[in-house]
Symmetry: none
């Protein structure tokens, strides 16, 4: 997976908060960076967020713990970033049909929950967000913002097209659509099936656009 991580890092211009210094001495190893992220993701996938330890990540990555802490301030920050890599790229559908666009977006979203790695991360992150405002901020402005931005784009095109009322509240819409998916995954412990996603989209769009 190292290759994938490296290429995603490049694509998304991911940078550590403390980037490689330019001065003399041995430069930081990109390999170490990628190995740590890979190890973090793999371990979360295997044993779950809480059972992951920094010692474990360092050992799996073949790296000293100091090398981890030189780049991230703690376990949560590291895992947030690792998760961010997995979800950074999210295509925004634009088929000309609002209902179709929303549905595609939701199914992409659903696919994420069907991946055990991402799914397992999710619940840990929710707790981490409650513990630390810094993490909450990171998650909101990464993971969540990407999703909400995509959804908002689709809804705005829909409003421009006249499929939705011009005054539809994007915050309300986001919560009506994303909320049920989260609820189902976090509370009932597994992803929805596709038919249920269809039902959610149908009901929410109908609820938002009474005349439609």
């Amino acid at each position: 997976m190292d290759r994938a991580i490296l290429s995603i890092m490049e694509r998304n211009r991911i940078e550590s908060p403390d980037p490689p210094s330019r001065g003399p001495g041995r430069p930081r190893s990109r390999e170490a960076h990628a190995a740590i992220l890979t190890a973090a993701i793999d371990l979360v996938r295997e044993v779950g967020y809480d059972a992951v330890t920094m010692d474990g990540i360092a050992a799996r990555a073949g790296v000293g713990k100091a090398t981890v802490y030189r780049r991230w301030a703690g376990k949560e920050q590291l895992v947030v970033e690792a998760l961010g890599l997995l979800v950074a790229a999210m295509p925004v559908p634009d088929t000309g049909d609002t209902h179709q666009d929303v549905l595609l977006l939701m199914l992409t979203h659903l696919r994420m929950y069907q991946d055990p790695a991402t799914g397992a991360l999710l619940s840990g992150l929710v707790a981490a967000m409650a513990r630390s405002e810094a993490i909450a901020h990171a998650v909101r402005s990464g993971f969540i913002a990407i999703r909400e931005r995509a959804l908002r784009g689709v809804l705005e095109r829909g409003a421009a097209r006249g499929d939705l009322p011009a005054d539809v509240d994007p915050v309300l819409a986001t919560e009506l659509l994303n909320g049920p998916l989260f609820y189902r995954y976090l509370i009932h412990g597994g992803p929805m099936d596709e038919a249920q996603v269809h039902g959610v989209v149908r009901a929410v769009l109908r609820g938002l656009a009474p005349g439609a």
Copy 2:
């Protein structure tokens, strides 16, 4: 709070997973049981879920650690039950007006998130559910089931009354209504305001009952 806990325990017939044995020997102390739950709730309220320790709970309850571990297998199980007590009693509104009933239920739900103690517990529990199927089961069949049962009752009365289609999917309805509240609290870090809850209820009921 001990009194309240004791009476709630009685009312709800809350029992530990390993209830007092019926055989010979000194019976388990109800006072200790209540004191532990009280201490757990108070400490979560004061220092947050993660900073709570079993030693701290035992000390605050004036109880030995063994007495805690005799009843609960760990911190999470204990806190799950403590949370369950707080939310066990939830009045089911029945005003004759479906929209009004759903709204009242949601506002009761909202009130829970506005209480820092319950709110703080929630995110920890979500993570705990992901860690352990036993906890997940406990939360689902307590905390969650109570809420969903109440909601379902209201919807069924609504369907009987003709306010909602007879074939409305109760699972879908539950997720459409509860999901946004959870999403907002867990992801955006604070409860909705009442106006937003009105918006959610209006949109969802409209989405479920197109002709209404």
Copy 3:
């Protein structure tokens, strides 16, 4: 072994420090008393003094812990008394030959160390004596005093007979004879063999009675 304990108890008129009260109420059970002592001895034999627990003794004896604590103040007191039973009866030889008498006494003593139960008790008791003056007193005035009294009797007969100087110091003699046996057992971890006991007796008697 219960039978043996009961009969030894009777023979030696062993009584607990807090004997059954004479008043009304159910009298203390002799069976329980003997079962506890037996269990204590057996467990020491099997797992060693330190690994013995009061819960273990009570369980093995088929007795409640309160029944144990009603009779003895703690583990050490109980084990001291249990050991006392094993060694209460010690025949004092009187063959008319001082060297022979001392030797017989020492070999009896030796036999005690060769019994794993008594041997294992011994080292635990030494530590217990250091911890508590009450135990030290109990051991000294039971276990130890019995041995030293026997030895002193033999030496006095020897002095009367003219085999030993009249002014031989009985304290010195006791320590010269018993010391090496203890030292060997406690420090080197096993009993002397009989030949070595012969050597000790020969050297000590010669040292005490220069002209002999």
Copy 4:
């Protein structure tokens, strides 16, 4: 006392059973090692062997518990080594007079029992030896061996000089001399006085060397 401990450690090349690995990584701290031993000795002196706790030692040494357990497997092992340091250095007298040499050795030995710290350790160690063959081995090959080696040296010089028979059994001699001191301390709860030590030495040497 840290200085003293460190210098004794160096002099005697004392090493933990699990010595600092030679490979990469941070080496074990000599300061921590010495601080732990010092704390152990001081605490035994102050509160007695049984009341010493590992938490207490770690706290007094200003060290985490893991640092203690990385070096020693438990309380007993630690205290054995601490005691070993106290008695490592024992001068072997060589005055040219065998009786005098033995007496000096015994009085040095006696002095040890007169120190409350060492004395208190002793009885705990005896019990520890019975519990664990590893501890027994450590005590025998340290504490005890040093004493017995010194005594043997003196006796051999005496035999060479003709003060003692050439065939005197060194094991027998050791036990005859050391046994009474141990017996007195462990069983009667206090050290001999010097006059009694004179008596022991006189009797034992006379017993070993009949013609002397």
